[in-house]
Amino acid sequence: MVPFLGHGIGLRTKHFPDLLEAGRRADWFEVITENFLNIGGRPRAVLEAVRRDRPVVLHGVSLSIGSVDPLNEQYLRDVRALADAVEPAWVSDHLCWGTFGRHNAHDLLPMPFTEESLAHVVSRVTEVQERLGRRMLLENVSSYLTYAASSISEWDFLAEVARRADCLILLDVNNVYVSATNHGFDAGEYLRGIPVDRVAQIHLAGHQDLGTHLLDTHDAPVPDPVWALYRDTVRRFGRVSTLVEWDDHIPPLDEVLAQAERARAFEKAVLEGEAS
């Protein structure tokens, strides 16, 4: 199993001065992998400075594990090189697809949950883990559509991928809440369908209510319903490395760190039996 890292935040450009010049730190940092492939300059310097005294994990958005396109060999080599240099606690990406015909949509498009998809994803995760020389974490995405062809629930699909490919799960609590609301399933049933021993990381984030659907925007504090679901998550999965994502309209570092501290307090309250 992977180590418990505490309560971290994403490494974002806006906070570089606080991190590089002022030396501010969270328990750990999550880095968007693609933002640090084959680059130098200030971003690389910040990454190296943070990594010197804190754990870092690499979180990809472009692996496109569910795509029918061939795996992007150069991308995998670049991720491996970055991982070898940074020595992250782990690497992760999403249970989704984003490319077709080598054309990248730069989105986390939902999979149809079918036996064909399952076999395809399991085969690809196995191959990627071999190429990267390490186990990976797969994250559930927020979605806005489902397919008529789907015959398996999302949670059963994710659990089965993890079991067959022997990978771990990055459970995004906000994404569970967003998708449950958008598609009308029970978020609690989702959590109960995920095997406890596979969850190695948790994501928390904010979203927007557009009236017709919730949109996973990462541009606001974690809302109360997601904190409530996080409480249920801690009850089921125990102490798991937790990270607050904030990617748009990013506030000062203190505000993001306060969200990580709030997660720590929620976790403590649940684990010490003080939850209401």
Binding site: G41, R42, F100, N104, A105, D107, T114, G184, H213
Partner: protein, 259 residues
Amino acid sequence: MTLAELQGLLHGAITGAAPGREEELREEVVPRAPLDALERVEIYARMYLYRLVDAIAEDVPHTSRLLGHDAFVDAVRDYLHEHPSRSPDIGQVGRHFGAWLRTRDGIRPDLPDLAMLERARSEVRTALDAPVAGAEALQSLPPDALPAARFVFSPSLRVLRLQHDVRPLWDALEAGEDDVPAPLPAPTTLVVWRQEFKVFHTGLSEHEARALMVAREGGTLEDVCGTFAGEPEPAQAAFKAVLSWFADGWVAAVGAQRA
């Protein structure tokens, strides 16, 4: 429908690469009130466009502002049809945008050049790090090896050949001025580079631009000096130019062998 067929259908609808398959989308995507199947697909289509609009605007903020929001979105939409993203790095999607703008009618004629300058500055900001060689690297070579010396330039160096001198325009936009200078048609060579974390750009004379081109293509110091032959004092001009390359940190290494 197979997984491949389903992904082709949805990808084509979202990116606009294969429109007009609404009936198939209605069969494959589940409607759920208050959104029907096509409205659900449209959520992704909007996110696709605006995510890439934002990515390109981040590269070329001044170009985006001068063009205006709606015109910029229209331009990006048309650009993406010709240059869909082929890289896992969303930051690469705008790399042809400036050159592509040259094919667009009805815009300020210097906008493509401004976009190219902005894109170059963005690339330079995060280009790979490299050691910086001082002029002593040249001076340390044996005198008889000097004519054959060759330069290895920093990976963060960019050279732009533009149809307008957009430096005054960039300065005005950077300063937040509302009145910006009119387009200044003039063939201009600009160099963009980085020292530590700070990005700079400057213009080059015709002679120095030619010398730098020769040096970057693997020419020797002798070749470089030869490009100043038309100058009143060619040796001095060559010496001054080459020393400035070192002083500005453009040179990563010097060797007597072909780079």
